[in-house]
C-alpha cells in the first residue's frame, strides 16, 4: 500500500485493517522539539496512531498484529536516514491506542539495532504523566546531537526534582 501524502500539510499516512478495525498511522512534520538543531528542519515528524473504523459489535482489544504492522510501517517511513520521529502519550490515553509501554514493547520485540530510541517522562502538577519518545537511525549524521538535545529536554525537567 502506497503512502498517502497530503500536499499542503506534508503529512504521511497509511491505513491498515486489523481484525476488521482500521487504523491509520500518521507522521506529521514537527520541528519545535529540537529548536536548537537547524539541521533537523523538515526531518522531524510526530507519530500518531488513529482509529478510523470500529465496526459495531467489535470490542477494541490489544491485538498482537498491531505491533508488527506499526513497526513495519515505521521501518518503511524511516528509510530516509535523516528522519526523526517523536511519540507522546499520557496516562489518560486509551490503552488500545498504544501508550508508551506498548510502544516500548513494540521496539523491544520488533525493532532492529538500526534505530536509537530515547525516552522521557514528565508529570504535571495534577499527576498527569506524559511519556515521550524519539526515534532515529543510529547512523544519523547528527545522532549524538539529537541524543543530547532530547536528553537535555528530559533532564531539564528532572533537574531539581526531589529524589
Amino acid at each position: 500500500m502506497a503512502w498517502l501524502k497530503t500536499r499542503k500539510s506534508r503529512i504521511h499516512s497509511r491505513s491498515r485493517p486489523i481484525n476488521r478495525v482500521v487504523y491509520e498511522v500518521r507522521f506529521k512534520p514537527s520541528d519545535y522539539l529540537f529548536p536548537s538543531i537547524p539541521e533537523l528542519d523538515g526531518c522531524v515528524f510526530e507519530f500518531a496512531l488513529a482509529l478510523l473504523v470500529l465496526p459495531s459489535g467489535i470490542k477494541l482489544t490489544p491485538d498482537p498484529r498491531i505491533a508488527p504492522t506499526a513497526v513495519g510501517t515505521i521501518n518503511q517511513f524511516m528509510t530516509d536516514p535523516n528522519r526523526v520521529i517523536t511519540y507522546i502519550c499520557n496516562s489518560s490515553d486509551r490503552r488500545e491506542l498504544a501508550p508508551k509501554p506498548k510502544f516500548d514493547q513494540w521496539f523491544d520485540t520488533f525493532a532492529t539495532d538500526t534505530f536509537q530510541k530515547q525516552d522521557g517522562t514528565l508529570t504535571d502538577a495534577d499527576g498527569l504523566c506524559f511519556y515521550i519518545a524519539a526515534l532515529w537511525q543510529r547512523n544519523h549524521p547528527i545522532s549524538h546531537q539529537i541524543a543530547v538535545a532530547f536528553d537535555d529536554f528530559a533532564h531539564q525537567y528532572n533537574a531539581d526534582k526531589p529524589a
Binding site: I11, S13, S15, P17, R20, V22, E24, R26, K28, S30, Y32, L33, P35, S36, E46, A48, L49, A50, L51, L52, V53, P55, T86, I88, C89, N90, L122, D124, F130, I132, A149, D152, F153, A154, Q156, Y157, A159, D160, K161
Partner: protein, 60 residues
Amino acid sequence: METKTLTPTQKREWALSVARRMMANKRRIQAEAVAEFKNNPARTTRILSELARLRDDSTK
C-alpha cells in the same frame, strides 16, 4: 539553547508546555485522520470493501 538560562522551575514548565503541545498535536492528527477518512467517500468505500472482503475470507 535559550532554555539553559531558565530557572529549574521555568525549565520544568517549558518541558511540560512542550509535552502538552505534543499531546494536543497528537489529538489533532488523530481527529484530522478520522475527518479526512469520513470526507473521502472513495477511500471510505475502498477500505470498507476491503474489510468486507477480509470478513468474507475469514468465514470461508
